[in-house]
């Protein structure tokens, strides 16, 4: 199965090789290996960027290949983070509570321990009761299942309602924005059961591994993120390589025609939407332990729009384009907003990039959309000399055959 995919897509092998070299290089230069060329915080940034690249690949699958401009996939990313965050927070608080109660003269009962954990976690929102959604928080296995299941079910229900009513194009984009906004507003409430705007914190500390330094934990997560990106990339390449890829690209280019070929278009959209939401959930579950904190601001509508910007700038409709876009834009963004970019003194006015970065990003997005719709990934075409047929929708008369031959020769 995968052999055929690799043979048909040499770019997959190239990508895996580059990713492998990158992972090896960062590992060897990390604090963990003792060389300390790459700091632990930079390892975390790169690990997080790998997760962003994974969610960008998912976005490319749903937008670049299927043509559904979802502006809500960061909601699924955030939900994945919340699901793993619940276990991390519960287990770690459990450890702290048990060790502090161990000094008490009477050994605590199980109920007392749970109550103390509840008090610790929910004290900030003025509660101490565990809401029902925390029912499985003590089980890593169940929360890991929820990482996939919760985004999957939300995407399935939302997609079923939207696609069945044949909501398409910009209307669907607006609906997905509404979904992510509604979810963020709900989570901002203190009684949502997920600590309101405090979010879940301390996620960088793995329960029971207090003795392990962050330099090791960061490199573990870096490897896991690289592995998840590799798997997600190969899975996506497999999905888009065969007839399924033909059908979804057909849906992107001419939905009605696919319908008249007998394909249930809505089922296909729902399938892609749900699977990519699950991949986004996994990416989020790897991202937030590296970030250390998740709060509802993470799933604000703007986050999902950024995701679309990455994919557009990187080049949609090709998987490596999404990865390039996520890496390029998010790293450049942290360079500009981190205060490292030198200010530009224009005499009358000094451009501070912290304020002006968003303007620059917006302009580049517009420029890419208008001038280079293939994005950064389009540069690869220049290099490999691939030429796309440039006559979409233009019906050339039968006599234009000679021109066509000339184009094919190139």
């Amino acid at each position: 199965m995968s052999q055929g995919v690799l043979a048909k897509n040499p770019s997959v092998l190239t990508f895996l090789a580059v990713l492998g070299l990158f992972t090896l290089g960062v590992t060897l230069m990390s604090e963990w290996a003792g060389t300390e060329i790459v700091s632990t915080s930079l390892v975390k940034t790169l690990g997080k960027t790998l997760c962003l690249a994974l969610v960008a690949v998912a976005m490319d699958l749903v937008w670049g290949y299927t043509g559904i401009l979802s502006l809500g996939h960061f909601a699924f990313f955030g939900l994945g983070g919340y699901m793993i965050g619940m276990w991390l927070m519960y287990e770690r608080t459990h450890g702290i509570v048990v060790s502090s109660l161990a000094e008490a003269p009477i050994p605590p009962t199980e109920a007392e321990v749970v109550a103390a954990i509840g008090n610790q976690i929910f004290g900030v929102v003025g509660s101490s009761e565990f809401p029902p959604i925390w029912a499985f928080a003590d089980s890593l296995a169940l929360q890991l299942v929820l990482v996939v299941l919760v985004p999957g079910i939300l995407a399935f229900v939302f997609g079923w309602l939207a696609f069945r009513s044949r909501v398409t194009g910009v209307y669907l984009s607006i609906l997905t924005q509404a979904m992510t906004l509604a979810l963020a507003l709900y989570l901002f409430q203190n009684d949502s059961g997920l600590r309101g705007n405090n979010g879940l914190s301390g996620l960088q500390n793995l329960p029971g591994l207090d003795h392990v330094p962050q330099s090791s934990i960061s490199i573990w997560f870096f490897w896991a993120s690289a592995g998840a990106l590799a798997l997600g990339y190969v899975l996506s390449a497999w999905i888009v390589s065969g007839k399924f890829g033909s059908v979804i690209r057909g849906i992107r280019d001419n939905e009605a025609r696919v319908r008249f070929l007998g394909y249930p278009v809505e089922t296909y959209k729902l399938f892609v939407f749900t699977v990519t939401a699950m991949v986004a959930g996994i990416a989020g579950a790897l991202y937030y332990p590296q970030a250390g904190i998740i709060n509802p601001a993470e799933i604000a509508p703007i986050a999902s729009i950024y995701l679309a910007v990455w994919v557009a700038i990187g080049g949609r409709g090709r998987l490596y384009g999404a990865v390039i876009g996520a890496f390029f834009v998010s790293l450049v963004s942290s360079w500009f907003t981190g205060g490292q970019a030198p200010d530009v003194n224009l005499g009358l006015y000094t451009i501070k990039w912290v304020d002006w970065w968003l303007v620059l990003l917006g302009l580049s997005f517009v420029a890419v959309t208008l001038l280079a719709p293939k994005g950064i990934g389009g540069l690869v075409d220049l290099w490999t000399g691939r030429l796309a047929p440039d006559r979409h929708g233009a019906d050339l008369g039968p006599d234009a055959g000679s021109l066509r031959e000339a184009e094919a020769e190139q």
Binding site: G242, S246, R259, G262, P398
Partner: protein
């Protein structure tokens, strides 16, 4: 010959305009039929109704030996029942190769999971080979269909229709924009197709209709004005008045 498709008493109104008015139409297995009529006569709307794109306000549409009703079925379901449609403007997937276009159209399972795990079998590839020979695109199998000329795109679309193995083919203006030689090829393709299935052709060009040599239905203001051989309907005074005479 048994009736394959029976449309009876169908009407549809768009914003007060009666596009189809109490239309009845029947076609048998392995029959070729041409539908002619002036602009706005409801020819394309008729196809929209049969393929499920437009829902009629009233009337019945019965299909096949079991006489199932097509009303209320989705477009995809109707296509799977065996009704193939070719649009006026050639609509092929321009970003994909001729081979991919044909493989997608081949009569195989249409569900997402079956398609996800689908790998072309020997007979599928043979069929694609054979079809591309019939439509004269054997050398272009690995070319992106967006590179094809207008006439080649039309043939590719006809090839995709044949690959679907429909029992009824609905073809909207197949010869538009073609050279005389290309028209001849198209006529041959359609006549060949009609040997094993029903074919309905919408066409403006009377010369093309004459070459098809089949029964003709004349539509006017959403209803059937006349039906019969081409000579019969062209001799009809009403037809001359509303269509030919102008």
């Amino acid at each position: 010959m048994s009736t394959l498709l029976e449309v009876s008493g169908v009407s549809v109104t768009f914003d007060g305009f009666k596009a189809i008015n109490n239309l009845s139409f029947a076609i048998a297995d392995a029959e070729m039929r041409a539908i002619i009529g002036p602009n706005g006569a409801g020819k394309t709307t008729f196809m929209d109704i049969v393929t499920g794109k437009t829902r009629p306000d009233e009337g019945r549409i019965l299909w096949g030996d079991a006489n199932i009703s097509l009303l209320g079925l989705s477009e995809a379901r109707i296509a799977r029942e065996g009704i193939g449609r070719k649009f006026q403007k050639p609509t092929v997937f321009e970003d994909q190769t001729v081979r991919e276009n044909l493989l997608m159209a081949l009569r195989n399972a249409r569900g997402p999971l079956q398609v996800l795990f689908y790998r072309p079998r020997r007979e599928d590839l043979d069929r694609v080979h054979e079809l591309s020979g019939e439509i004269g695109l054997l050398d272009a199998l690995d070319r992106k269909s967006g590179e094809l000329s207008h006439g080649q795109k039309q043939w590719l679309e006809i090839g995709m229709l044949l690959a679907q193995e429909p029992r009824l083919l609905l073809v909207d203006e197949p010869a538009a924009g073609m050279t005389p030689a290309e028209r001849e090829h198209t006529t041959a393709l359609l006549v060949e197709a009609a040997k094993s299935r029903a074919v309905v052709v919408i066409e403006h060009d009377m010369e093309f209709v004459r070459r098809l040599g089949c029964k003709v239905t004349v539509l006017h203001e959403g209803a059937v004005l006349a039906e019969g051989s081409l000579d019969h309907v062209t001799a009809n005074q009403e037809v001359i008045d509303v269509y030919l005479g102008r």
